[in-house]
Structures are given as structure tokens and as C-alpha cells.
Symmetry: C2
Subunit: 421 residues, 2 copies
């Protein structure tokens, strides 16, 4: 066997980076996987950690454990601080540098506040495990404080949750928080009735789940309203602070505000000094390379990619995985001497969202489902995509338990990152 | 039914406070349970969270959930800041006060540094869930940093764990950390062999497990050494800092130091202005009341109580539970008109400690066990005492999984309280 000299560096072990690394098995390369976290996170279920249904460890796995059998892969927990394009090096926070022949940036996205970063302390978003435990703490603490509050106006503000953004995350949070209050916490307080909670879902557009078919938005709105969620459409949020949220001419007193609106890409474009769209995503060529640097790829939420019809590829797990696979195939072809650029083609598998524990909408194009059949299919699909038998079993057990008893197992208020409020 | 006017306030929902509340079911009183946490913690298994075997939510339960069926109990999440003995009021951090007819202080203990509080940032102890996730983060981060470290001396310091204190917690941590390195993490790193970890257990006395029979200390020392733990006896620690630990004339370079030595009581004695022992525990009368205030009881780790032979009652869960039961019985008798003071009598059920996943020592007096029968009995006993079917099932599943595969499910590095190092 000849010596392997081609060094691949992957930054980010989300869905895209991990799929790329997997698809590159057996290729004549050495891979270094860098992530600033030690774990891969199953983001689609993060809202369930935020709402006490799942434990953090049920949806996160050590990256180096996932890649342990790949002797060609070295996993590093490190912060990237820059990229030296001419020198082909990734710069790390300890001053060291890693040389690459091929670089794949799969650094994902954070939530963004449309230029109002000052809202963040009052309206945490949901992208990391710490975000989820922060939101869990806020929600549970609001009930605890309401139990002690004697002023009825202050108490109502404590029992009001404003959710900004009517996409799948906002819809899923709204449904689950209502159920938490109505089923799980009911009867455990003496001075408040947890069912008097007010959950308000605020969406600037004219319907929730804007990416879905209009009839599904309709269904979701009705299902949410049946659960007791108030839906506010057509007005954008213009202020968030310790007292609540302002949208249009309305002012809502809410001690808990959750941000499920904009996302912004991680600093990949900055590291590269490359052109980016307004959300900070790198404008890549059709083959996902960075213009002028065919050895650098950007994939997943960090990349701005268009579909043939001109719409952007959505920031969802399947899109990131498809891009990871595409880049792996392209690199393998290159290593075999075929340097033809192959454009990435996105295949849209469908959209899913749940509303509480009995309703969901699924739109696979050829199949549109609502109600409990959709809910069960959603559950089976998520269990299937979870990594590892142990977690499939644990999450199945947690869900069956909640389904049967209404009780949630991870109702912990723990101190996390210092709260800024 | 006559109106119930007797107000009982319990501070602390640990083993003592919870058992007291349970034993008081059906008594003609109203109870307010105050805790600064929202959860009861099963402390005996906390070291398993610190060493990635169990998730936080597997050993902690919301207090108000545990007491949900008790309509006579109001649960409050609040910080006590003082006690007004003449006015019979508990002062809370929001400036409010709670009146009591009977007060039970079951506020537990923290770890203490024998007057060297400056060691705490370098040598975290293990009493809360946050302590456990801090220790988990430190241990996992040390391996991650060692993987990136090229200087062999610095690398060895990163792969050295010093544990201060040879009681059950120190012994259990030492055994589990070695197994984590040898079984769970093995083969997942490319630049280090995790089996080169050095775990040093430092005990100032002349044997580990000083509360056990000498032959059990012997057995535990041999079992630990067989696992690869270095035991250092007879020298007290005189310095802890970012470089390591000094004991006697020895200096050990260790990036991870864990504190399993002294405990100090919570501020109950301070709140009361009552007499306390050197560790801060309130010197209570034989019936567990505070001298001069027959309506105030102190139980569990916050109380200094002697056995008939003059030795102190140990700070273990069964002792706290027995005291909770005793005070409940005494209060019931009082409410029925019988004010005889009844001295508390401690019944020692035995001592248990595990060493890794195949050995344990159990000393029940009438039964002394070592080896795997002790380990299995230990496991069954802990599952039995866990609260709630859901957690029994979850912990059993986690343990069977580790036993069968060596894999641990909660290997997460999450940011918690700001690290002070």
C-alpha cells in the first residue's frame, strides 16, 4: 500500500460534516475532524430537551465515539480562529495550525436577531444543548416564581410565554409548552393553576409553517388554537426586554420569551474572507466549492445554495447530509483523477412538524398526512434517524412514558451559563 | 373537621426533609417545604453522573412532583436568608417571611476545604448536580487536551487525576475513572493511549474507607491497586493549585483534582445563632431540638448528633431518614398532647462502597461481603431506593448497557457555571 498523503480537514461534526466523513470511508485520505463541542447533536429533538421531555444525553453523542472505528480519522476538540487560504492551513485557538489539501467547512448556524443582538438575553434561541437547558430553566422558573407571586398582574406575566417565529421550532415549542403546563405540571402547585398559562406564537408572515402547503398551515393553526395557543400573524417584533415583547401596536407582558425566528451562519465566511449572503452564508459555486479555491467546500447551514428554481436549499438536516455525500463523491472522483465539477442537486424529501403529542403535519409531496397517523410516522422517523441503538431505546422509553403518564423525566432547573437577565 | 392551624415549615428536601414530610402524612398540620433547588437529589449515585454513567435526570426528581398528592403540602423554590426565632418566622430572599409553629431544618452539607477555600476552583467537590457536571467536564476535557498536547510532561499532567479523600466517594470515583479510561474511552483517541491515565487517591489517614472494618479497607486497597489506582496514605494535602497537589513531601503534577474530603454543614447554625461543632453542624439536644427552642428541629447532615457510645452519627442517607421519621413521630405525639421528649436512637444498617464495576464491599454487621456478590447487592439496593418506577427502569437500563458494552451514555462536555480555573 502506498503512503497516504492527502490530508482532509473537516470543521464541524453536525449532520453535514459527519455524513461527509462517513461517505469518505475507504478513500485514500487522512481526515481530521475539528469541532468546538465534544458531541454531535440531534437538533430536530432539541425542543424536547427544552421542554423537559428528553435528557440532554439522549440526543447528543461524543463525536470521537461515533468515529472510533475509523482509524483514518483524528477527532479534535478545538476552536478554529481563521483560515490561511494561500498557505492552506486552519488556524486554531492555541496558536497551532493544521495543513489541509482539502477543507470542508460544515460549521452550521446560530440564531440571529435581525440586527437586535441586545434582545438575546431576554429571548434565548435554541441551537445548542446549553440553549435547551437555559430555556428549560426559564420555563420551569417562571412557574416557580408565579407560585410565590401575590400580585395578579405580575403573576400573569410570569405565566405568559411569547414565542417569536412560526416555523417548525416555534410551532413545536408552543404545542409542547402548553402540554407541559396542562398535563405534566397540573396539580403540583397550590397557589396557581398551571392551565392558566398563556402561550402566544408571534409570526411576522401571514401563516405559520410557511414552507409547508397552505392547507397544512391551516391545520397547524387550528390544532394549536385547540390546544390553547394564541397565534398572532402579520406583525413583526419590534422590541424584547425584561417586561415582554412588542409587535406592531401590541404590547405583551411576558416573562418568558423564546426566539425561534432568524438564523445566521457561523463565521465561516469571515474566516475565508469570502462573499456571503445577508444571513452570513458563504456564496458557493454549484459544486459547493468556494469560488477561486476548488479545494475548499462549504456545506450545510453555512452555505448559500440555490435550487434549480432559484429558491434557496433549506437549512435542514437532510440537505446538509446530501451535501456531505455530494462533496465526498466529488472528492473521491478527484482523487481518482476525474476533476469534472459536478453541481449539487437538492432532493427535497418532505417537511415534518409536530403539534403537541397527538397532532403533526407531514408533507412528502406524494404523501400528505395530518393528525395522529402523522404524529406516529414523525415519531418512528425520528427514532430511526437517532444515532445508536442505546439512544433509540432510551428515547422510545421516554416517549412511551410521557405518552402513557404525561410525566416528563428531565424537569431539572440547573444553573448553566450565567443568566443575563 | 376542625380547622387546621398548626403550620410546619421544612427547609431542605434531601433525604431527611422528605422522609419527615412523608411520615407526617395525615397529621393535622399544614406543611410548607422550602428548597433552593427544584429537585431532590439521589446523592449516593452522584459520582456516576460525574463519571458519565448516568444522566442528571436519572438521579434527580422535582420536589413538587414527589409531593404532588399531598394536598397539605405547599412546595416553594426559595432561598432562606435567616430565621427570626422570637417571631417564629423564616425569612426569604425576596423580603417575605413565613410563619411557623414547628420548624425543621434539613439543609444538608457542602464540601469544605479545612480553611483553604482558595483550593475550591482547582479541586471541585461533589454535592450537587452542577458539581457532577463540572467534574464530568473537567475529566473529559483533560483527555481532549491531552490528545492535542505535544509536550510529554504536560500531557502526563493532563492524564493524571488526583482524588483527595479515601472515603466511599473517593474510592468510588477512583475506581470508576480508571474504568472510564480503560474501557469506555479506549481506542477513541489517536495521539494518546487513555490507559496511560494515572489516578492517585490521597488519604491523610492510614487506610481508605476508615468507617469500615479494617479487612474491608484492605480489600478495597487491593481492588483499587489491581485496577491501577495509586494509593497514598498518611499524608494530608497542603496545597492545591492549577499545577497539581502537594501532600507531605510529595508534589504531584495533576490537571484534574477532585475533592472528596471534608464536609461542612449549610448555614443553619448561622441562621439560628445556635451553637455548632467545628464542621458547622448544630449541636442539638438528644431529641433533635435546638436547645431553648423545642419547636425547632435540625436533622441530617446539618445536625451534630452522638450515638450512645459517643461516636457521631454518620452523614449518610439512612441516618437523615431515621431522624426525619423520629421528628415526625415526636411532633405527632406532641400534637396529640404528649410532650415527652424522646431521644433519637441511630440504628446503623451498614456500610457499602463499590470499586469499579466488578467489586464492592458491604458491611451490615451480621453480613460482610466483598467481590461481585457485594457489587450485585449494592446495585439492587440502590435501584430499590431510587424514587419512582421510571428512574428505576432508566438506571437499570443504563447500568446493564454499561455492564454489557462498557459504553457510557452521558459523555457530554457542556458549559456550566463559569469555570474558575
Amino acid at each position: 500500500m502506498s503512503e497516504i498523503n492527502h490530508q482532509v480537514v473537516v470543521v464541524g461534526a453536525g449532520f453535514g460534516g459527519l455524513e461527509f466523513t462517513r461517505a469518505l470511508a475507504e478513500a485514500p485520505v487522512r481526515i481530521t475532524m475539528i469541532d468546538k463541542r465534544n458531541h454531535h447533536l440531534f437538533q430536530p429533538l432539541l425542543y424536547q430537551v427544552a421542554t423537559t421531555a428528553l435528557a440532554t444525553s439522549e440526543i447528543a453523542w461524543p463525536i470521537r465515539h461515533l468515529l472510533r472505528k475509523r482509524r483514518d480519522v483524528t477527532t479534535l476538540l478545538a476552536n478554529v480562529v481563521g483560515i490561511d487560504r494561500p498557505g492552506k492551513r486552519v488556524m486554531l485557538d492555541d496558536g497551532s495550525a493544521l495543513a489541509y489539501d482539502t477543507l470542508v467547512l460544515a460549521t452550521g448556524a446560530r440564531h440571529a436577531y435581525f440586527g437586535h443582538e441586545e434582545w438575546e438575553p431576554f429571548a434565548p434561541g435554541l441551537k445548542t444543548l446549553e440553549d435547551a437547558t437555559t430555556i428549560r430553566r426559564r420555563i420551569l422558573l417562571a412557574f416557580e416564581q408565579a407560585e410565590r407571586e401575590t400580585d395578579p398582574v405580575k403573576r400573569q406575566a410570569l405565566l405568559t410565554v411569547a414565542i417569536v417565529g412560526g416555523g417548525p421550532t416555534g410551532v413545536e415549542l408552543a404545542g409542547t409548552i402548553v402540554e407541559l403546563a396542562h398535563d405534566t405540571l397540573r396539580g403540583e402547585f397550590r397557589n396557581i393553576d398551571t392551565r392558566s398559562i398563556r402561550v402566544v406564537l408571534i409570526e411576522a408572515g401571514d401563516r405559520v409553517l410557511a414552507n409547508f402547503a397552505p392547507e397544512h398551515s391551516d391545520y397547524a393553526e387550528k390544532a394549536l388554537e385547540r390546544l390553547g395557543v394564541t397565534i398572532e400573524l402579520g406583525r413583526a417584533v419590534t422590541r424584547c426586554d425584561a417586561d415582554g415583547v412588542v409587535f406592531g401596536d401590541k404590547e405583551l407582558a411576558a416573562k418568558t420569551i423564546l426566539w425561534a425566528a432568524g438564523v445566521a451562519a457561523s463565521p465561516a465566511a469571515e474566516w475565508l474572507g469570502a462573499e456571503a449572503d445577508r444571513a452570513g452564508r458563504v456564496l458557493v459555486a454549484p459544486d459547493l466549492t468556494v469560488p477561486g479555491n476548488p479545494e475548499i467546500f462549504v456545506i450545510g447551514d453555512a452555505a448559500h445554495v440555490l435550487r434549480p428554481d432559484g429558491r434557496p436549499v433549506p437549512g435542514v438536516a437532510p440537505a446538509a447530509k446530501q451535501q456531505g455525500k455530494h462533496v465526498a463523491a466529488l472528492l473521491k472522483a478527484r482523487l481518482a483523477g476525474d476533476a469534472t465539477p459536478r453541481p449539487f442537486r437538492y432532493r427535497h424529501d418532505g417537511d415534518l412538524a409536530t403539534i403537541g403529542k397527538r397532532a403533526a403535519v407531514i408533507d412528502l409531496g406524494w404523501l400528505k398526512l395530518t393528525g395522529w397517523p402523522a404524529w406516529w410516522l414523525w415519531g418512528v422517523a425520528h427514532i430511526y434517524f437517532l444515532i445508536g441503538f442505546r439512544n433509540r431505546l432510551a428515547v422510545s422509553l421516554s416517549w412511551l412514558w410521557i405518552y402513557a403518564t404525561g410525566q416528563r423525566s428531565a424537569r431539572l432547573i440547573t444553573q448553566g451559563d450565567e443568566d443575563k437577565v
